[in-house]
Symmetry: C2
């Protein structure tokens, strides 16, 4: 029988009532003839409670014990979901990571899945079970210890199971009903996309759209797993939600798929840096070592052997960046006049695989912003994305204007 993977996140299994609602959706797919693998997260709040205890007990904790503790939340949900399905007369059993086994690396708290042997679960399907409920986010190391995949790891578990079992699709049930052209809270014309290409989803995920974890999208792209994002709180047709898929499966699409934005950006400028070979490597190695996640980087034209270097990072990392640069200046490794931090900026991006074959997207974006009187501070581009930094107070205006200009409210 064809296999379907269904994943329910923490808010979708937060209470026994919600678990029941999720189980009903599983029952619908079983009735259609699927053998279903359900991946569950911990009931929302449970993982945070466990992490809190670990941190209070041991701030520099042994990650092996962290994993043994934190993985318990998913086990509880898996068992409760199995019981709920049994009450609905659907034959189901729960699986903990080590029982499958989900084989991972030994990188505790951030393990990577290495293999998912399908024998045990296939044998259970053959024996008459219609549903295997797997505790997400966890696995077992070569040493036989419990591992976890890091935050958001349940999405990755789901995609990995879909790949291992050649599932027809991997449905990610969450608290939103799909991927939108932009945040509906900022732009009322935002439209749910029926389909989006993996590459676009990747850009949106890394731009802060929190629906899917970047790593799970990468994995889905590599193994050609059809991902569907849909709401666990609504009755839905087979065509509900957003399908994340190969671009070949998208017949027609707009040039721009969506407008993304992030408000917690800061713009940092190192003024009058001595411009010599290797200086960029020095600066960004120092920042990386200090744990600063640098996003955009712009280097001005050099004049008289000196240049300005501008980069962006999350606002809560500004102090860390300043400390790292001050240390480097004191040590004489990086020579600059001053470091200017502008924390009132935001990043706005347009994303779309159509940009590859359509010219003029950047020009149009700049014209739209200019027409609204919005000054652009930094620009970066990739093959399918253009991002700009602007004053934070203009972010809603910019998003609405770009959404209108690219006519994202209309389907292709």
């Amino acid at each position: 029988m064809p296999v379907l993977v269904m994943k329910f996140g923490g808010t979708s299994v937060a209470t026994l009532d919600r678990i029941r609602r999720a189980a009903k959706k599983v029952g619908v797919e079983v009735a259609k003839g699927y053998d279903v693998i359900v991946i569950v997260s911990a009931m929302s709040g449970k993982t945070n409670e466990l992490v809190g205890w670990v941190n209070e007990t041991s701030p520099m904790y042994d990650a092996r014990e962290y994993d043994a503790i934190v993985s318990s939340g998913e086990n509880v949900t898996a068992g409760l979901m199995a019981l709920t399905l049994q009450e609905m007369d659907v034959s189901a059993r729960s699986w903990q990571g080590w029982q499958v086994p989900v084989q991972t690396t030994s990188a505790h708290a951030a393990a990577r899945i290495e293999a998912i042997p399908s024998d045990n679960i296939l044998a259970s399907f053959a024996a008459g079970h219609r549903v295997a409920i797997v505790a997400g986010f966890q696995g077992v190391s070569p040493e036989g210890r419990i591992t976890t995949l890091g935050r958001g790891g349940s999405d990755t578990t789901a995609v990995a199971f879909a790949a291992a079992f050649a599932a027809e699709r991997c449905d990610i049930y969450t608290d939103v009903d799909g991927i939108y052209t932009t945040d509906p809270r900022v732009c009322s014309k935002a439209r749910r996309l029926d389909r989006i290409a993996f590459e676009e989803m990747l850009e949106l995920a890394s731009l802060g759209a929190k629906v899917l974890q970047t790593r799970s999208v990468e994995l889905a792209m590599r193994y050609k797993v059809k991902l569907r994002v849909l709401s666990s709180f609504e009755e839905q047709s087979d065509e509900a939600g957003t399908l994340v898929c190969d671009e070949e499966e998208i017949m027609e699409s707009n040039v721009v798929a969506g407008v993304a934005f992030s408000r917690d950006e800061a713009k940092m400028t190192l003024v009058s840096v001595a411009d010599r070979p290797g200086i960029a490597a020095l600066i960004f190695t120092a920042l990386s070592d200090a744990g600063v996640n640098v996003d955009m980087i712009v280097q001005n034209i050099s004049e008289e052997g000196r240049t300005d270097m501008t980069f962006s990072c999350p606002t809560d990392q500004v102090m860390r960046a300043e400390a790292a640069m001050a240390t480097a200046k004191d040590a004489g490794t990086i020579n600059f006049a001053e470091l200017i931090a502008d924390i009132d900026v935001a990043k706005v991006s347009v994303v779309g695989i159509g940009m590859r074959s359509h010219t003029g997207v950047a020009a149009k974006m700049f014209q739209v912003l200019s027409a609204e009187g919005i000054n652009i501070k930094v620009i970066t581009t990739s093959e399918i994305k253009i991002s700009v930094l602007i004053d934070r107070k203009y972010v809603e205006l910019a998003v609405q204007a770009l959404h209108d200009a690219f006519e994202l409210e209309k389907a292709a």
Copy 2:
């Protein structure tokens, strides 16, 4: 190095502070040179929360899923205890049942331990760990599913580990500081016993002393595991608590070790039962099938082919017993005039291995009760125990009088 087993119950690990206090006691034993195996329960309240969810989800639950869910509480405590010990610079790691592995039968929710291979934990001691923290109450079935041992199973886990590792002693840390001659709340002269024989402890446990689970005492007796019961809330010397041991290890002891009592007893009398061979078997099979735990049984002298049959059972099983007898009467299998239930009774027992060699204990007990004007309704005796049913209102008076008469406040 010699191995010591230490077990901490739910109240002893109820908070992170209490886990720290327990860990300090472990550290003391490690400093003495022991390799320590710590058995932990779930933080108190956690198991009840999980059981509540299971019952709400599925009243007739699949015990395999129940076990997978309910066992998670112990795993959390084991990890937290490992982290706490590491913070104290004691090398420790946690073990879940399947990792040891604790091999059990497949009788889910009531599994029996079949074997505890010592290789893995011994290898971890050899590699430098000084403490193995094992999640109590759980194991793994031959089918690779998680099992639990039933309520109070952590005591049994502790004793089984002590037997498997030939531990010098098995220390049970709890919220009382030992075994008393009787309940100190009822008799202010109650005295903590330094030592008590396995047989006496078994009688006391089955009479309702809730400190140790009957099953764990049986196991300790069979494998000659020295059990010590002591408080996790007090600083203690090596001689603290009560040692439960072989009677050979008790040099001197009182004839009577303790006075036990149980308030929730009911006395049931089947009046004018047709007395024929096999009638007792019929009655008590019917009661057993109905889930009634019959304790004491007395049959009167038969007159003219009819007799009265009296038995005791917990008060909350009276309705069940009445229904079972009514059904049997209607079906014509048991013929009797009426069933009289007296629910205002209590059971008082004196227990002591010294009774084997001392006569007159029963006579003295009956005299003491008679002198207080307490009427005895039913009597049963075993080799080391005499129990009587009396009116419930006299229970405190009877306990105090017997404690005085047998001079239990004085050590042997």
